[in-house]
């Protein structure tokens, strides 16, 4: 009798284990399935193929005189192109790295020294700094000045003073010929 009931309880325990195992597998598969369903929904919000395909802009540099600047649009944001004067180039190259919050040599930021090409959004919170037009305030370092929260950039687009943490970013630039560049 006792052995019988022990046997029976052993058997029902096995049953329960098997049931619990099935529940576990089913739940796990359900979670995987739900995740697999959720992923395309989330991923659909990433940049689409047509947006990625438009990710490069070609610019003709001929009309930009020395000392002038041009703003072009790349990926929906402004890019600053400045045809730097000799003075600006010397000034940018002459700065000691120790003075810079975000240490980067001018030579690492340009392909040709007379052409500075940087992203036109302040690295603080994304405003467009002043300094492109001739009458604009250019900040204490002769580059750009962001009116939103007072960041000053130098003639290499590097942050010198103010809340912005980093230099204006350098986009991927390729010279197709002497006077044409491709951004992106």
């Amino acid at each position: 009798m006792a052995a019988d009931s022990a046997h029976a309880s052993q058997k029902s325990q096995d049953e329960e284990t098997r049931r619990d195992f099935l529940y576990l597998v089913a739940t796990a598969m359900g979670a995987v399935g739900a995740g697999a369903f959720a992923w395309p929904l989330v991923n659909s919000m990433n940049p689409s193929a047509d947006v990625l395909a438009l990710a490069s802009t070609e610019v003709d540099l001929t009309p930009i005189e020395v000392g002038q600047s041009l703003t072009v649009v790349w990926r929906g944001k402004p890019v600053f192109i400045r045809h730097r004067t000799e003075a600006e180039i010397t000034e940018a190259a002459g700065v000691s790295l120790d003075e810079l919050p975000d240490q980067e040599a001018d030579s690492d930021r340009v392909v040709k020294p007379e052409w500075l090409i940087v992203g036109g959004n302040c690295t603080h919170l994304g405003c467009v700094p002043l300094g492109q037009k001739t009458g604009d305030e250019k900040g204490e370092f002769g580059g750009w000045f962001c009116p939103c929260h007072g960041s000053h950039y130098d003639t290499s687009g590097r942050i010198r003073k103010g809340p912005a943490p980093e230099n204006l970013p350098v986009p991927p630039v390729e010279f197709l010929d002497d006077n044409t560049i491709k951004i992106g």
Partner: protein
Amino acid sequence: MKKFVLTAAAAAVTLSLGLGTAHAAEAIKAPSKSWSFSGVFGTYDQAQLQRGYQVYKEVCSSCHGMDLIAFRNLADLGYNEDELKALAAEYEVTDGPDDDGEMFDRTARLSDYFPSPFPNAKAAAASNGGAIPPDLSLVAKARVGGPDYLYALLTGYEEDVSADVLQSIYETETHKREVQYAADLEAYSVKKAKYDEAVKTDSSLKEPKMPEDPGPVESVEDLGLPDTSSFNAYFPGYGIAMAAPLADESVEYSDGTPATLSNHAADVSAFMMWAAEPSMDQRKQMGIKVILFLLVFTGILYAAKRKCWSDVH
């Protein structure tokens, strides 16, 4: 209730009279063809798509746009980036305005869409005798029968279609005409009887015209298509504004595939199917995985359900 019974009775009467009315001219159904992408495991044949693109480019594109397709999309056909750039560079697109406010032409880039052959719909209509050549981006999904229909249409012109198909069209149309003629005669006899009665008192009445026997349809001419259209066995109404666009040797293939009408038609139909549904391969692959997953999952759920319910009765 009474109303319904009445309507039903009225319907029965209308039916007995109405069965004779000819239906709108409908073309015969396109036979189904075996494609590389048919069935659950079927995929596009890249070589065929490339040939189809060539046919589109060299023949169709002079009248038909494909404005949803960009050059970058042709990567699906198996071209590498350099080949794609070379393909795009064969086209000019309008861009602008430039700094002077002028529009200008430049060579196409990968992100550009196929240029339209006509600047707008009115221009398209004006150059094609009033018929606007439809855009082909989605045509394979926008026609009943899809690629089967496109293939049948492209090979369905008078010189290309088989005698059997022609014969069956003649028979159907002859039958339709006979039915219509019988109905017309009946209507005439009613009118005539009325006229005969009425003319006794009013001689100014016009005598109704007796309908003419249209005779059997024995040739394409008997169908009475307008001069501006060509006969096509698979086009609704048989008269299509597009003259036969393809023939043997229309396009010279570089991969050794025989340049027959049948190959041209099949290749370009496959290409249009790809253009309409570029994600098909990916969709089917995903479908197989999802269904395998669901089979296992459902099986486990069934086992769990059996276990769970084993003590309920």
